[in-house]
């Protein structure tokens, strides 16, 4: 499962984000996801990738790339 593509799919299909902005790697905020929306977004990716994001990490993410990197790190840790 390609992390980046999966995140983009969720953002577009479930959070009605503009596909063009996702290509530009805009900030989460610019994608139209506010702080509460980000809680829902992280909740969703925790389910999809079977990971748990702690509060400290959740506070730091600002772009889709940040989330993608975080997911990859947590999946690697889970697999190790």
């Amino acid at each position: 499962m390609d992390t980046r593509q999966t995140l983009a799919d969720i953002a577009i299909k479930e959070f009605q984000c503009d596909p063009e902005k996702i290509k530009e790697d805009a900030s989460i905020k610019d994608l139209g996801i506010d702080s509460l929306g980000l809680l829902e977004f992280i909740f969703r990716i925790e389910e999809v990738f079977a990971i748990r994001v702690d509060n400290e990490d959740a506070e730091k993410v600002q772009t889709l790339t940040d989330i993608s990197n975080l997911v990859d790190r947590l999946r690697t840790m889970a697999a190790a």
């Binding site: 509460l36 809680l39 829902e40 992280i42 909740f43």
Partner: protein, 290 residues
Amino acid sequence: MSLHDRVVITGLGAVSALGLGAKALFAGSLAGRSGIRLWPPEAGIWAAAPVPGNLGPVGMHQLPAHVDRHVGLATLAVREAMADAGLENVPAAESASTGVYWGTGVGSAATVEDSYGRLHSGQRARPLTILLAMQNAAVAQIALDHGLRGPQLSVSQACASAAAAIGEAMLALRWGRAERIVVGGAEAPLVAGQLQAWDALRVLAKADKLSPEQSCRPFDRRRSGLVLGEGAAALVLERESTARRRGARIHAELCGYGNAGDASHYARPDPAGQQRAMELTLQDPCRTPA
């Protein structure tokens, strides 16, 4: 601003089993139409008065996903009332003097039920469960929807929730706490847990399978109880001077409010308490025409 300003109604909105809009509710009531049907549609266990499916708050413009159904219904009614009052866009200068007083008895029934469903099936609670289930969820959403930063109050007083919200708003307007307050109430209790709990209280009407729309029969010897419904109704209340200044159309004046308790029983009203509430309303000093 006069401290003796009257309080007037300048906007009306409703969504009910009789349709979308205050006019649909009024016309349907006058025509004696019933919005009661078997519920849920596929099982037909109970008699209930749901808002017709195609008129509900699903996919509404600028309504956040996952808000409770009663909040969605409230938003629909308030948008109509604000448009009726000519206040689709509240001027920024009037935002802080425009408040929201809203009533709900049950509140976020579907959100709470969904949360318990997840709990008992080993799933985690959704991230916004607390925010969406708060008893003031409708107030928060209405204020956000229209940019209202005046005084806010969530009233939960069983069947009198919206009436108390309206009355308290009238008093607040008289006191000059705000120039305008959006008021009303919303309920959306047609979920299994609520229906079962009301049924357990032995107060629900038996569903008339042949004529479901006649399941509610007050004052009839065949009556068997009450029928739960869902919906919302909203009014825009303004100080008369504020309404006149902007040339608003005035539907009516709100000129009395009484609030009395029974201290007798959870569910069976004491007529003496009702009488005192009505007497207090009639004794309202502003009721006498100037």
